[in-house]
Symmetry: C2
Subunit: 253 residues, 2 copies
């Protein structure tokens, strides 16, 4: 039965620079794909500025609602890195210097480079465990179901790979895609009927234009490969009945 358990996650991206458009987030796409492979479904992403109360609210709303919560950003050595403190407050606790984190940072930096700003990165909420950072040493942390990671994609990815085995996923969502040059507006009704026949399949319709020619990419997602295939067969039949040709048909496995 547990293979059909649905395990959910949310990502909270923290940083003014994402909201102003200066920096483009790259963490959602990476995490969405990685979690999917682990049987964890990304259900929501919130992008919030470096404002304490917004981080606290997002963390508390999401940790109550989803199995896992990930945050990226705001754990560096400068004044605008307020994530650790905000997460501590969300849990009603405070920061304390973690001896292992302190030892790692002291081992990394030359004595003249040991600044109080850098050592601040060893302060994590009481009760949290460290998340290793193979790229730049300064660790993230896990507190209950909340995983606090760096914002720089290369560092975040290396941290995630270190603890990914701790995540307990549910049923993995398999996906297939069928692409054709039949426009969305032409397949709309029939596709809705297929959706009605398979109410728990996730059928997504994504229009595209290729050299000015409209087409549709249909994505079918379900935990059961037989259902994915049955929906795809219906879609292929629908496309042919509408006089179209499936130009691409990718099934799971």
């Amino acid at each position: 039965m547990s293979e059909y358990k649905i395990v959910t996650a949310a990502l909270i991206v923290i940083g003014n620079e994402i909201l102003s458009g200066r920096t483009k987030d790259a963490n959602l796409q990476f995490l969405g794909e990685q979690l999917n492979d682990l049987g964890v479904r990304m259900r929501e992403c919130r992008i919030v500025p470096d404002i304490e109360e917004m981080i606290i609210d997002s963390v508390n709303q999401c940790r109550a609602k989803y199995d896992y919560v990930f945050t990226t950003g705001g754990i560096g050595p400068t004044h605008d890195d307020i994530t650790a403190d905000a997460v501590a407050k969300a849990f009603g606790t405070s920061l304390e210097r973690h001896p292992d984190a302190e030892a790692m940072l002291l081992a990394k930096y030359k004595p003249e480079d040991v600044t109080s700003a850098r050592m601040k990165m060893a302060d994590i909420p009481v009760g949290a465990s460290l998340l290793k950072n193979p790229v730049s040493t300064a660790p993230g942390f896990r507190l209950e179901n909340v995983f606090v990671m760096a914002g720089v994609p290369r560092i975040m990815q290396s941290m995630f790979k270190e603890f990914a085995h701790e995540l307990i996923g549910g049923a993995k969502v398999l996906s297939a895609s069928v692409t054709s040059y039949v426009p969305e507006g032409t397949i709309g009704m029939r596709l809705g009927e297929i959706q009605d026949d398979f109410p728990d399949a996730d059928i997504g319709s994504y229009p595209f234009w290729n050299d000015g020619k409209p087409g549709t990419n249909l994505i079918v997602r379900h935990t059961n490969p037989d259902i994915v295939n049955a929906v795809c067969d219906k879609i292929v039949l629908m496309i042919r009945n509408l006089g179209g040709v499936p130009v691409d048909d990718n099934r799971p496995g």
Copy 2:
């Protein structure tokens, strides 16, 4: 006084494909930058799946909290396009066929291409006004402070440009950046002191590595150019005092 009014916005990105990692959102960055130019600050972005209650909740929470709310995605002709209906429900109203939208769609399609799926795109919430879509005709709509747009970036951008003049911005945030090869951990404390001296300036610190050399990009944002310049001057002095050289110093023009 109105030039110092703070006008805020949120973006709600609707679509399973963004959360699964299949598609990378490109709308936040565009809107963040465009709104900033208009004196509107993007304060939050939520990315939610094609689930009615999540769209309703996000719209209602955000429209109460921010001056403007923008949504992207889910207004096409297929069964998974549920945004118009969800927004109508968020406002406690329902959809009705809008005569102008209907006329535009009928003028666009050949009679044999007029499907009920396509005409569904003329159904918008009671009381909403249309947002023109110069690329693919099917309109978005505005209901009070909520602007509902297409998800395809090219279409969203063309829609936004049509109605951008309707937005009433406040004080425009000016930004400057100073870049150097002084690492974040070295400038952390001093930078915090500069922030303390200018508590209402937004000073962001963004580490980078260039050919393995660590550096920091400092972004200063404020509505008053004199304050932006004063903070940048302090930052340049700090970098020089730490033995560094500002390799890039971009002030508001």
